[in-house]
């Protein structure tokens, strides 16, 4: 016998809103850290063969570690809650962000860089006012992929008492057979999917308004 969904929602919607906001907050915080870190790593390695290959390979291998395994590894060191959650989300976000930063910078036509240098721009100025803005649409796409990835992985972080909607999914899982098991799992999952769609939509707008009109297709 299972409890009806509308009664379940009526009783817990405040709880649900709070969990959704927590979920959003942990994803946003992790993305912000990963963007700074990832773009920085990208800037350091993009035009040097060995460091670039090393960074991309390391990030590529890192992403194959199952998220549950990573949390199990982090938790003994970082404890429970936000810390292991944020660290693992940053960890998974780095690959798409570093990779797209590298690809974006490498796609900037060489003659534009030569043109900038030929007019007397310093290398740093060229990087900041020519190369990065031109690579930006590709970098934003990387951040967007990372966002999709982390919304899903954040749900699993409830295993180490991380914030967010994962709590409901695990509640459902641990109370199999009880009246509300399906309701917990279902609302948790649907909210994660809705949040992911919402964030993706937000990125369409972010990409549009943070890209120069001269670059928009």
């Amino acid at each position: 016998m299972s409890g009806s969904l509308d009664v379940f929602l009526a009783r817990r919607w405040e709880d649900l809103v709070m969990l959704t906001l927590q979920h959003l907050a942990v994803v946003a915080l992790s993305l912000a850290i990963a963007t700074v870190l990832g773009v920085l790593i990208g800037l350091l390695v993009w035009d040097r063969n060995v460091p670039r290959t090393a960074a991309l390979t390391a990030a590529g291998i890192a992403i194959t570690i199952p998220s549950l395994a990573l949390l199990a590894l982090l938790s003994p060191v970082l404890g429970l809650g936000w810390a292991p959650t944020v660290v693992s989300l940053v960890f998974y976000s780095l690959l798409p962000i570093v990779r797209n930063t590298v690809v974006g910078l490498r796609e900037v036509p060489a003659h534009l860089v030569e043109s900038a240098r030929g007019m007397g721009m310093t290398p740093v100025k060229t990087l900041l006012s020519i190369q990065l803005p031109l690579a930006w649409p590709v970098i934003v796409t990387g951040i967007r992929v990372a966002a999709q990835l982390t919304v899903g992985i954040a749900a699993i972080a409830a295993y180490v008492a991380g914030p967010g909607l994962g709590l409901y999914i695990f509640k459902g899982l641990s109370s199999l057979g009880s009246a509300n098991a399906l309701n917990f799992a279902l609302t948790g999952t649907i909210c994660v999917v809705l949040l992911a769609l919402l964030i993706d939509g937000a990125f369409v707008l972010i990409a549009r308004y943070s890209t120069s009109r001269g670059l928009r297709v």
Partner: protein, 323 residues
Amino acid sequence: MSEPGVGIELSHVTKLYAGQQQAAVEDFSLSVDPGELVMFVGPSGCGKTTTMKMINRIIEPSSGSITIDGQDVLSLDPNELRRHIGYVIQQIGLFPHMTIAENIATVPKLLGWSRERTNNRVDELLRTVQLDPAVFAHRYPKQLSGGQQQRVGVARALAADPPVMLMDEPFGATDPITRQKLQAEFLKLQADIGKTIIFVTHDFDEAVRLGDRIAVLGERSRIEQFDTPANILANPANDYVSSFIGHGAGLMRLALIPISDVELDAPDATAPAVDADSSLRDALDLLMVTGAERVNVSGGEGSLTHARISAALNKARHPVEAS
């Protein structure tokens, strides 16, 4: 108000890339007068672009010295040096994420000009290259045609009024009609501003049309001949130069001789008329097209026949002996 050109002196300049046996540019010496437009012409890969890029140190020379207005460029800060040398490349290199006005303002911004001075200069330059500032200043490069982009490229290079300009096949990527138009505009502009310009091209016709002097370059940027277009066409220094000129040297030379330089026969009002300030090539063209015996030079000073044109060409053949 524009700053006139200054002299450029390259002396024994060599570029040897690491790990290569042969130099890309070997012992290159050349002196360019203030306000002169010198064309570097040669086949692809001969080192002409490398030679030019050593002047603004996009490529560092391995040995030798380069001076601009007597100042050794190798002793200057490369970024500071480049802000005072106009630079136009074949791909134009307009920054796609910046407006036309922002593109032109690049060097003034680096030099720390005030906003007002920069804006005035941008408007002035857009008008100079015949683009209406009200229409074009706030457009993006992708909204302009190839010819318009190239004009903006020239305007951007002129922004801080540099005495020296380096141009690497600037009109190479445009269609023939646009190219001729840009070349004509460019000559008119240069007549006003009198910059010292080094202009790289592989198109000998372009070199003849634009250059005050042409340096014909062979392998490793060896100077095969350095002289005025008329002298190179009349007296090619060697087989290499002759082969580079190709066919039609006579016609090219006719294009360089204005009708006003030639002795005329008595006027003939019945003959087809050619403009007094056109070239002998135009006169010959009219003779061929109309099939007439002679053409009348409008203004009534006289007329021209095949024989006159031919004599003028042959008189110009030995300019050294003649003078």
